[in-house]
Amino acid sequence: MPEKAYQNLLEEGMDRGLVWRGRDDRPQGDAVESSGWPVLDECIGGGWPKGALSELLSRHRLGLSLLLPGLARLSREGRWLGWVAPPHLPFAPGLVQAGVALDRLLLVREVDARERLWAAEQLLKSGRCSMVLLWPQTLRDPQIRRLQLAAEQGDCIGVLFRPLRVAAQPSPAALRLRLLPSPLGMDVEVLKRRHGWGGRHCTVRVA
């Protein structure tokens, strides 16, 4: 097998979370922001990876509740929280109840597929946002890589809300979680994480 093919295979393996990359990964990739849910932190290697993308896959592109403790903390730290193309109107009183300070929240709405990606990239790499949430339309691999790069550049936690069906496609995101609502809260399955294997499960009592 030629070297290039090995390279591709290795990359795909990494994208699928099949290759454990040991402790010698890029050092900035190690920084995490605690999710505020101990059981989840334990599953995902300490928290949301900083300077990287996380993907939340669910039937109706949910998962915001998992982010709330982190959003609440980051909303008091000065940098912006960017929300690009949320599917519904975020309910301000509900967010306030969850401890989120609204004045650092930046909404980008009514934008088409191209503008969403552009806006998300700008926010991710600006260095002015601690977290950027993006509800994308279909995403291709190079686009995800670009966003990943932007997140690294801006030291930002990028979160993509994507449908369940993309679980089978590999992705360069650092963390991928599959979410299912359950009577106890939210069932979380780790599809991929840095420095570790996927496959772990936990239930977060979001409700």
């Binding site: 109107l89 975020p90 309910f91 609204l102 930046l106 934008v111 552009w118 806006a119 002015r128």
Partner: protein, 476 residues
């Protein structure tokens, strides 16, 4: 006093062509003795043998592709006014002579770090504005103007040096007034030095009072009062586009020139701006296209403004070829130096920058902050507002969802049970809302936390007036 004379010999041509970088021979004509002659031309025309003073017919015979415009004095006057607005950042005492700008710079030398630094700055920026200037400095405005015209590059600070500098200058160049020049030619004196050697009484007899006074002013022996120019309260300039522009990218070049001029004007006022009005004039008889450009913070950085304009242009469709680009700024705001450092060691400017970039490209209405409002009706308890607006504490209590569906989505019922991807299980009565009778949008609703068979948690209500069910929120 320390005066800087800036002479613009090519102004008659530049007013027509500075909007674009044009190739080929270009000229401005004027009527001389009954025929149209070349007044100024560019380098490309000179290479083809075209010279000032040549009849236009002869010039066209040399170069059929010559583009020419009849001289427009009003436009030159406008251009000098515009230059003065830009130059206001360097001097607060400005006056004019034809094709000449005279600036008192003694007071601003320290501010700009000395004469060399100041000159450098001025000479660097002039070509960017689309003008080529010649300069000289002298202790009085008359001398600064004369030297800029006839001995550009002179730097004179003392009277002795001034006399030495003036001595060899031909007397005929003392003035541009035709009648006085004829007189000077007739009196048989060669240079200004020759005149200075004459006794004053004879000088008065031979030159007449007008020229004598001019000479006195030149040497600083008579007061040289100049009406000080005052900048207009608002900025408004336009630039001609001699080659009609059909795509937006070609507007960047003239836009940069207008913005440089604007930023000089703003610096001179100690001001910045947050709102620009651009207009595009079309060749055909169409109304001009007005473009409003808002910024999140006051600024006076031309590159920043240009980047925003470039992005704004992407959303503009040109209705026809553009022949003129204009820029107006009505509101000048006090400029606050970027205080910086309130966020992670970098300036607030950079933060405004990203927000502005988004607002410019996407439109301000697509960018917003989320604000709470003190209203019990959920649809009125949240609003998307401009980023700078503040919010109020929401009144709603009880378990609240993260997402609001607006308007509420009616739910089908089966056997009295509301359905949403299957029958809903009502987990908890969450709140009763009776509100809004005072503004005619009264609501009488019972809200419940509900769950569907897929396990999704929903916020539903029953309208107590007609018993219908609605989905109003998602718990996620």
């Amino acid at each position: 006093m320390h005066w800087l004379g800036l002479y613009f010999p090519d102004l008659p041509l530049e007013v027509f062509v500075r909007g674009q970088s044009l190739e080929g021979p270009l000229a401005v004509t004027a009527r001389q003795g009954g025929q149209i002659c070349i007044l100024r031309c560019n380098e490309a025309a000179r290479k083809l043998g075209i010279r000032a003073g040549q009849p236009l017919q002869a010039a066209l015979a040399l170069a059929g592709e010559l583009r020419s415009w009849p001289r427009d004095l009003a436009r030159e006057e406008e251009a000098l006014q515009a230059l003065a607005q830009w130059a206001w950042q360097f001097s607060s005492l400005i006056t004019f002579e034809p094709s000449l700008l005279l600036l008192e710079i003694g007071a601003s030398l320290r501010l700009f770090g000395g004469i060399d630094a100041l000159l450098q700055r001025i000479l660097d920026e002039l070509p960017l504005l689309g003008y080529s200037g010649r300069w000289a400095t002298a202790p009085n405005p008359t001398a600064a103007g004369l030297l800029a015209r006839v001995a550009p590059g002179s730097r004179v600070t003392t009277r002795e040096a001034l006399v030495a500098r003036l001595e060899r200058i031909p007397l005929a160049r003392l003035t541009r007034d035709a009648e006085a020049r004829a007189l000077l030619n007739d009196i048989g004196l060669g240079s200004i030095g020759d005149v200075l050697g004459l006794p004053r009484a004879e000088l008065a007899r031979r030159l007449g009072p007008g020229l004598l006074q001019l000479l006195d002013r030149l040497l600083g022996e008579a007061p040289d009062p100049r009406p000080p120019w005052q900048p207009p309260p608002r900025f408004e300039q336009a630039i001609e586009l001699p080659a009609e522009v059909e795509n937006g990218a070609a507007l960047i070049f003239p836009a940069r020139r207008l913005l440089l001029s604007l930023c000089g004007f703003l610096r001179g006022q100690g001001a910045a701006t947050q709102r620009l009005h651009w207009w595009l004039e079309y060749r055909e008889e169409r109304p001009p296209n007005e473009i409003e450009q808002g910024l999140l913070r006051p600024t006076r950085d031309p590159e920043h403004l240009l980047a925003r304009f470039r992005e704004r242009l992407e959303r503009v469709t040109l209705a026809a070829p553009v022949i003129r680009l204009g820029l107006r700024v009505d509101d000048c705001l006090p400029y606050a130096e970027c205080s910086g450092d309130w966020l992670n060691g970098t300036g607030a400017e950079a933060e405004g920058d990203i927000l502005e970039r988004l607002a410019t490209r996407l439109g301000e209405q697509r960018l917003g902050g989320l604000r709470g409002r003190p209203d019990y009706r959920p649809e009125r308890a949240v609003v998307i507002a401009p980023m700078e607006e503040g919010g109020e504490q929401p009144l709603l209590r009880g378990r609240l969802p993260l997402w609001l569906l607006h308007p509420p989505r009616p739910l089908r019922t089966a056997d009295g049970v509301p359905q949403h991807a299957g029958p809903l299980e009502l987990l908890r009565h969450s709140q009763r809302i009776e509100s809004g009778w005072w503004d005619g949008e009264d609501a009488a609703r019972d809200y419940y936390l509900a769950r569907n068979p897929a396990g999704e948690r929903l916020w539903v209500f029953r309208d107590r007036r007609d018993g219908r069910w609605f989905l109003h929120g998602l718990f996620d």
